[in-house]
Amino acid sequence: MAMIDDNSKNQIKTIFEQLKEQVNVVLIVKKEECETCSDTQTFVTEMTDLHEKLVLEVLDESDDKAKELGVTMYPAIVLLDKDNKDYGIKFYGIPAGHEINSFIMGLIEVSGAGEVLPDDVIARIEKINKPIDIKVFITLSCPHCPGAVAKAHKLAFMNKNVNAQMIEANTFNEISTKYNVSGVPKIVINEDTELLGDQPLDAFLNSIEGL
């Protein structure tokens, strides 16, 4: 049975008309001990089938390429551009529920059709010159979470020093407990700076600049 209903498919297709260039979607799965891997594969397959510019590659964790992408948990989705350039944009866990929105925004972003930011904000993002790692912990029922994920991914897309990951807190219980996640979206920047809620880009940048 199809996971995404026809009505949603049609809506998503219209949104995908915004896609500019090809996006290579890499899904990394693990054969055992991965409760959500097969659902995620069905989901990503159905999504990428909705537009010819979306090309899916499914890898096993043991694959060299999977290792090169620096994936540590499964399922993981990495978005690469048409030249297979890796911007450090990852989704750990299935981006369903509300997170379908950040997944779509990520695809549009990497295709080169993301929203253009004001010049002063672009200048601030381009100035980031040290390695920045952003983890955004989410739940699938959280309406504020996709906004936080999309902003983190946008920063990663715009500056090669930034990596950003969505982490579904219920799937990755252990790491969520480690980071003491009991409210979402929880944003962790370089391990020690924490933000809670769908913060404006400004708050991300203030935190990054303060590191």
């Binding site: 529920g97 509300h98 739940t139 699938l140 959280c142 906004g147 009991s182």
Partner: protein, 324 residues
């Protein structure tokens, strides 16, 4: 694994409000009040735009809405998507992710934003809604995001088989308790006085077996280490304090109006709500207000939306009379 989707991206990006243009009316806030105000103003032929942090407002924090006429059951998010799509049909420019900091009344009204932009309009409709009210007790700020939550639909699923507490006695609190009872092992509801939620919700609540109710009880303190572990409650009848172990506490005790950007420009009542007359006019000519931020007692989507329509019609009349 049950999978559903809550798609809320529009097919087209909306136009943005321009900072060098003079609008007939600019609306601050993109909840039900602001969106309906935009619809009405635009249909009257006004040049209108919306400036807001988020489109959808508080309704996005609501799982299911069952009291908006015409929709027997709809998720808060779907309802707001319908509102937004309706407004977008009219090509109303919307700038989101923007925070209004200050309003100045000069020749025209000026709206100053946190990112240092200035927008100009002949009239302004304030529809900034409200924010969750805090308990204002020790531990609440400290454990925010470490057990203390104001959004049950966001954080509820983090408490699978856990023990949680809901504070409050209105529709939002009871609705959250019902939702949480399906996820958590046990839900305790603590409220200082009597319940004031709709009977239909109370009936549903009474059927649940894993819900415990403490009325006439207040929370004195939230305690824990790296995250909250227990609360200290006070029973008003017995005068006794008690320590109760809980993993999470959901605070749903009402809302406070968001008027920080007004900085004394407009008269507020003792609750901090904007005083409006029956047509949505404030104490400042050309500035109108609608929805949860104003002193209309009942805070509901349909009421906020209707008040937005009134404010827009009043703004239209103000402009047509050439009062600006």
């Amino acid at each position: 694994m049950a999978i559903d989707f809550s798609l809320n991206i529009g097919a087209t990006k909306s136009k943005r409000v321009e900072s060098d243009k003079l609008y007939d009316t600019l609306i601050i806030g993109g909840g039900p009040a602001g969106l309906n105000a935009a619809l009405y103003a635009k249909r009257k032929g006004l040049q209108v735009g919306i400036l807001t942090q988020k489109v959808g407002g508080q309704v996005l924090d609501t799982k299911i809405v069952e009291n908006y006429l015409g929709y027997s059951k709809i998720t808060g998010e779907e309802l707001m998507k319908e509102f937004e799509d309706h407004v977008k049909e009219y090509d109303v420019p919307i700038t989101d992710e923007i925070q209004v900091k200050k309003i100045e009344c000069k020749e025209y009204k000026e709206i100053h934003t946190a990112n240092n932009k200035i927008y100009k309009a002949k009239t302004i409709i304030i529809a900034t809604g409200s924010l969750p009210r805090m308990l204002d007790i020790p531990g609440e700020k400290e454990f925010y995001g470490k057990g203390v939550s104001y959004c049950a639909i966001c954080d509820g699923s983090l408490y699978q088989d856990g023990i949680v507490m809901v504070v409050g006695g209105g529709n939002a609190a009871i609705g959250s308790a019902i939702d949480l009872s399906r996820i958590a092992k046990k839900v305790m509801i603590v409220h200082r006085s009597k319940f004031r939620a709709d009977q239909i919700l109370m009936d549903r609540l009474s059927e649940l077996e894993n819900v415990e109710i403490y009325l006439g009880t207040v929370i004195n303190e939230i305690k824990g280490q790296s995250r909250m572990t227990h609360v200290i409650t006070f029973d008003k009848d017995s005068g006794k304090e008690k320590s109760i172990d809980v993993e999470g506490i959901f605070i749903e005790i009402g809302h406070i109006p968001r008027t920080e950007c007004l900085q004394g420009l407009i008269e507020l009542d003792d609750k901090g709500e904007i005083i409006i007359d029956a047509n949505g006019e404030t104490s400042e000519p050309g500035i109108f207000a609608a929805g949860d931020v104003a002193n209309v007692k009942y805070k509901q989507i349909i009421i906020a939306a209707a008040e937005g329509a009134k404010a827009a019609l009043s703004a239209t009349e103000y402009i047509n009379k050439g009062k600006h």
